[in-house]
Symmetry: C2
Subunit: 344 residues, 2 copies
């Protein structure tokens, strides 16, 4: 069945735009879940999807998650997302990115792009040659990783507080999957709070850095099955899936990666195993808070104060989940929908 | 399988836009096959498709046909089309049309709308409240039916000339399906040329008009099986299908309806039966010539001269088909692609 409006992940998206260009080989989808005051934003993912079915499913899920991320983090922007189909190693050219920038510009602010898996600050700079609706370019604003790491720390602290009944993070064992920007910054805050840190990363330089800081390092295959209190996925999405689930020994999952659950229905299996999962659109919101705050001309103090509120939001969702006996995802969605309703 | 880029009718469309609005109930798809100098145009169909699969298939086919129609008729515009999903009787409101107009306007000229099945000149006037990119409004330009009928007459004359080896239309029997605007005007020209006319229409007033003019009238169920020389479909598309095909006794099909073939592959069965089919994007181009000419400020004489060239284009395609031993659709596509290549 070929469909879009009936797609299981459609969720009343407002607009979905498909672009194709024979010259550059571009095949892109821009999904706009909800606009707020006429605008929405989200990352631009460049990924070798097997086909547009998978690309569409991904962009719809990611776009909706952006709406929830923004509204729960009090960012006055709607959620959207772009995907470019193809292997960035082979297909990514300046011409293709420029063409994409033109198409973003033609949407006239309904969609603002940012870096995501497969795109980086340099790419955003190329896209910006043809549009001002791209954030996170190397020459505009800065690195969002520190504030993302800070936000994960806030969510994790709140969740630990909730789960442990008020204990500190002293000697709490935390496995961090991915020690690039976000994982590294998260580790700094956890380290300062006295936690014990275990790290995995495919990049040898990242591991060397972790070792120098005194952290335990394990292989990327083993990180998920560590006997720890908290698992913090800070790399790709989809790491919680039917294969990995039986291996997880942590009692809590809270990280900076987007769309950590391969399928949302996995939340039931997690809860049955007694694992507390913090929805990643809450825990990973620091980067978006930083990016949007920067664009809006906020001070570092204002931005940090907004990221601090991730702590309160996390607690609010966990208490709602407990009181109403619903899973945390449903609680987070309900809170997000209520906040969206207040906006309208 | 849920897909767009791999859709069998995708044919390298440049852009496909999906719009949904909860408030008005709008679900619309705007497909842009080829832009020419940044713009493309085509009708806006309002139709109760069972789902977006059927809507997408229809909009992609119609949009591509517009590109071919325009390029073969020397209209400097790319092909596009819009579909609004739903029963116009129930769903069509001013609010919905206004919302659609806003979305058309946001495309900033990449798509210009026109009336089609389920929309009319009044609707275009409502759409124009929010965009100048809509043609065929009651207060802008006039009725395209006379020039469409004239164009069909030109195509039919050329095809008859080709098939009969130069005979006149005197006493040639022609069954016209649909005696609304286009069918009526076609009949006037055929009548003047001495043809014998048989008419069917669901509307009793149209039939009364036909009877007064001295034409034979038959039921809409019987028109397709009339023993005539030429069948001229001037109503809805898809009238040539696996059910109707065995009933057709005409030796030629040439009319003003869009997308007369339910599936393009039916062209082989038609040729096997010895029926000459004139691709409708050639025969029905008079309306587009009139609309575009009107927008461009051409005189009636210039517009008519352009419509006269439908005769030459029809002959050119039929001769190409004969000389290269390919079916007429393939011949028409090849000619259209060659002309598109010259544009680029």
């Amino acid at each position: 069945m070929i469909n879009v409006f009936e797609h299981p992940e459609f969720n009343n998206h407002q607009e979905i735009h498909f672009f194709q260009d024979g010259e550059t080989g571009l095949k892109a989808i821009i999904a706009i879940h909800r606009m707020f005051q006429g605008s929405a934003g989200g990352g631009c993912r460049f990924y070798p999807y097997p086909g547009s079915e998978e690309a569409l499913t991904d962009v719809l899920r990611l776009s909706r998650a952006m709406t929830y991320k923004f509204v729960l983090a009090d960012i006055p922007m709607g959620g959207a997302k772009a995907v470019i189909m193809g292997d960035p190693e082979k297909l990514k050219t300046e011409k293709l990115l420029e063409f994409f920038g033109k198409k973003v510009n033609e949407l006239n602010g309904k969609y603002t792009a940012g870096p995501d898996v497969g795109t980086n600050a340099e790419d955003m700079a190329v896209i910006r040659r043809h549009t001002s609706y791209a954030a996170g370019a190397q020459d505009v604003g800065g690195n969002t990783a520190p504030m993302t790491g800070y936000g994960v720390f806030k969510a994790l602290s709140a969740a630990w507080q909730f789960q442990s009944g008020g204990k500190s993070l002293e000697n709490v064992r935390i496995a961090i999957q991915g020690f690039g920007g976000v994982g590294y910054h998260l580790a700094q805050y956890l380290d300062a709070a006295g936690a014990q840190i275990i790290v995995a990363d495919l990049n040898p330089q990242a591991l060397e850095k972790a070792t120098k800081l005194g952290y335990t390092t394990v292989s990327t295959l083993d990180i998920i099955s560590q006997e720890v209190d908290v698992l913090a996925p800070c790399a790709l999405g989809g790491v919680i899936n039917e294969e990995s689930l039986p291996k997880i020994r942590a009692k809590m999952i809270c990280g900076g990666a987007n769309n950590q659950l391969k399928k949302e229905s996995l939340i039931s299996a997690l809860e049955e195993k007694g694992i507390l999962f913090i929805p990643d659109f809450i825990s990973s919101a620091g980067g978006a808070i930083y990016g949007a705050g920067h664009l809006a001309g906020k001070s570092e103090e204002q931005i940090q104060a907004q990221a601090d509120r991730i702590y309160d939001t996390t607690l609010q969702v966990l208490e709602k989940s407990k009181n109403q006996q619903i899973d945390v995802l449903s609680a987070a969605y309900a809170l997000a929908e209520a906040k969206l309703g207040e906006r309208a």
